[in-house]
């Protein structure tokens, strides 16, 4: 038996392929949307992976340091370091801000890391060019997505930094590239006030009789000195010793230090389940809408193609063609349209759309497989209207009168 669907497609292949390409662009957008969601989740995971931490110690009752502000004293790490099961600790600060380079600025997540060596929690685990930070001040390691190059001079607040190293895929959960600078510089950047604000704060302190007592010399200077330093960090990153369970160490820190501690899985839940949840829902809604639109378009195209063949279908029925042959004709065309659309969509999403999106687009093979079957299901369902129309055709229509 010859393939009626195949012959019909080959007869008007230009129209069919053109329609498939149009559908493919829509499928390409749908796959890209799924890729953007996967990219967001991956961004969140690489942020955790790249921190090299097993535990995040943050301000009590906060979801810090990524989902909520968190502030703890910068000497907290010492007492945590001495606890059983803790191998390494390191302070860290995170501040999302615009970093200037010459005339333009880039949105980045500035990360303050403690002095140490590669492998220290918070440090970029690998570089693609240059070296790690070796000086105590004014050196930076930047993610390549920021557009910065080795030797570039960056401005963070009032200070200038030289890019000495480049990383790749070091991004915040929002996809902003990370710029690593020494912790002391980052602490200053986080709380640094402008000169007028400093002057005004000193004047107000001097005017406060509680701090400016004639009987206590040096009190005012001490208070002002305490106001000019920032003894806080956003979190302490902890690596645990092998043989210890992260949850046990975390429970010990919670109990004895009265701080909030998150394990890797808890932090992942915060990032994926809370921080990017709204964005994920938004993308999911886009996916639903695009799927509905794709279905409507396929249904409309197949219905139109079928209406154009009503006379032929009447003749086919009159000469004894079985309903299943006519159903197969329509459904095979719908599936062929879906296959063309999917192939075009996959190529478009991979080669044209993903590279030009500013955020990371992760096109996973499993998503493509799911997408393919979803397109097939949509095409089959979308052909039902046309099939109903075809089955209603009266073979008597082929006979005049």
């Amino acid at each position: 038996m010859i393939s009626l669907a195949g012959r019909d497609i080959m007869h008007a292949w230009g129209k069919f392929v053109f329609t498939g390409v149009g559908l493919g662009l829509l499928i390409g957008i749908t796959l890209s949307m799924a890729g953007i969601y996967r990219g967001m989740v991956d961004d969140a995971k690489v942020l955790l992976d790249n921190s090299s931490a097993d535990l995040w110690v943050v301000q009590k009752d906060t979801l810090g340091p990524y989902a909520e502000p968190s502030s703890i004293y910068d000497d907290t790490w010492r007492s945590i370091r001495g606890m059983p099961g803790v191998a390494r600790t390191a302070n860290v600060t995170y501040l999302t801000m615009q970093v200037r380079q010459g005339e333009h600025d880039v949105r980045t997540m500035v990360t303050g890391v403690t002095a140490g060596e590669p492998g220290t929690p918070g440090w970029p685990p690998y570089l693609v060019a240059g070296r790690q930070i070796t000086r105590g001040h004014y050196e930076a390691v930047a993610d390549i997505a920021s557009g910065f190059a080795l030797g570039d001079r960056l401005q963070i607040r009032r200070n200038h930094y030289t890019v000495v190293g480049l990383t790749r895929r070091m991004v915040s959960s929002g996809g902003d590239p990370m710029v690593f600078i020494p912790l002391k510089d980052a602490q200053e950047a986080q709380f640094l006030k402008d000169n007028d604000a400093i002057h005004q704060q000193q004047r107000r302190t001097a005017a406060n009789p509680a701090f400016n007592r004639p009987q206590v010399p040096g009190l005012l200077d001490a208070v002002i000195a305490s106001q000019s330093i920032n003894p806080y960090v956003n979190a302490v990153l902890v690596q645990i010793e092998s043989g210890h369970r992260a949850e046990d160490v975390a429970e010990s820190i919670r109990r004895w230090k009265r701080l909030t501690v998150y394990t890797r899985s808890q932090m992942e839940e915060i990032l994926v389940g809370k921080l990017i949840a709204t964005a994920a829902k938004q993308i999911f809604m886009f996916l639903v809408i695009l799927s509905v639109v794709s279905s409507a378009i396929v249904a409309f195209i197949i219905y139109t193609l079928t209406l154009g063949k009503i006379r032929e279908i009447a003749v086919l029925k009159l000469i004894g063609t079985k309903n299943r042959t006519i159903v197969a004709l329509i459904m095979q065309q719908s599936i062929a349209l879906g296959v063309i659309g999917f192939v075009v969509g996959k190529i478009t999403a991979t080669l044209l759309m993903a590279p030009i999106f500013p955020k990371y687009v992760l096109l996973e093979p499993l998503d493509s497989i799911i997408g393919f079957f979803a397109v097939m299901v949509i095409c089959i369902l979308a052909s039902i209207i046309a099939i109903r129309a075809a089955l209603k055709v009266d073979p008597a229509e082929a006979i005049g009168g």
Binding site: M1, D8, E312, V315, G320, T321, K322, I399, G400
Partner: protein, 235 residues
Amino acid sequence: MGKGILIEGLKKRYGSGDTAVDALKGVDMQVAPGEVVGLVGPSGSGKSTLLKALGAVIEPTGGRMTLGGEVIYDNGWKVKDLRALRRDKIGFIFQAPYLIPFLDVTDNVALLPMLAGIPNAEARKRAVELFKALDVEPRAKAMPSQLSGGEQQRVAIARGLVNRPPVILADEPTAPLDSERALAVIRMLNDMARKFETAIIVVTHDEKIIPTFKRIYHIRDGVTYEEAGEGRSFD
């Protein structure tokens, strides 16, 4: 009569009650194998209803029909699969050729035997044999849009004949053709009727071809009456 077409007291009523219309009021017809008869009548006389009832696409309300020796209707359908009946026992030739535009000429004709389960090669062989008889063999690989009106109608005739049905129903097959081509089509139908022992009913308004029938059935207000035709030569 063992083969051919035998219609006895065939009735068809549309609607019911006060609005009921009797399109066929007891039609009697008989067409022998190898015979071509004309069915003529004015618009609304019941020609198309009779053709549709004979073609098993509408159900009569009474009477009896025998096609190719098989009683297919006797106050109710006597065959379960009407599609198979149409495919295997009835050939259709329409006013317009209605060829499937996305199949080439051979497959347009071979499709019917293929639907009946005959292997593709055998089905195409049958089609080509008919093309030789109908003088369209050189156009066997052409698409319908590449054929002239006369060629398309000859291919449509081949499609009607390819399953070697005992009965062919031709609905105004010469309407779109000029006199010469119209007579050629009727000549072909007569040749094929004789060659394949097929009973053919030709519904027509066409004054050019009416004199060629040896027997003519007139239908008016749902009733048929037979008349001897002139049976003129085609030359």
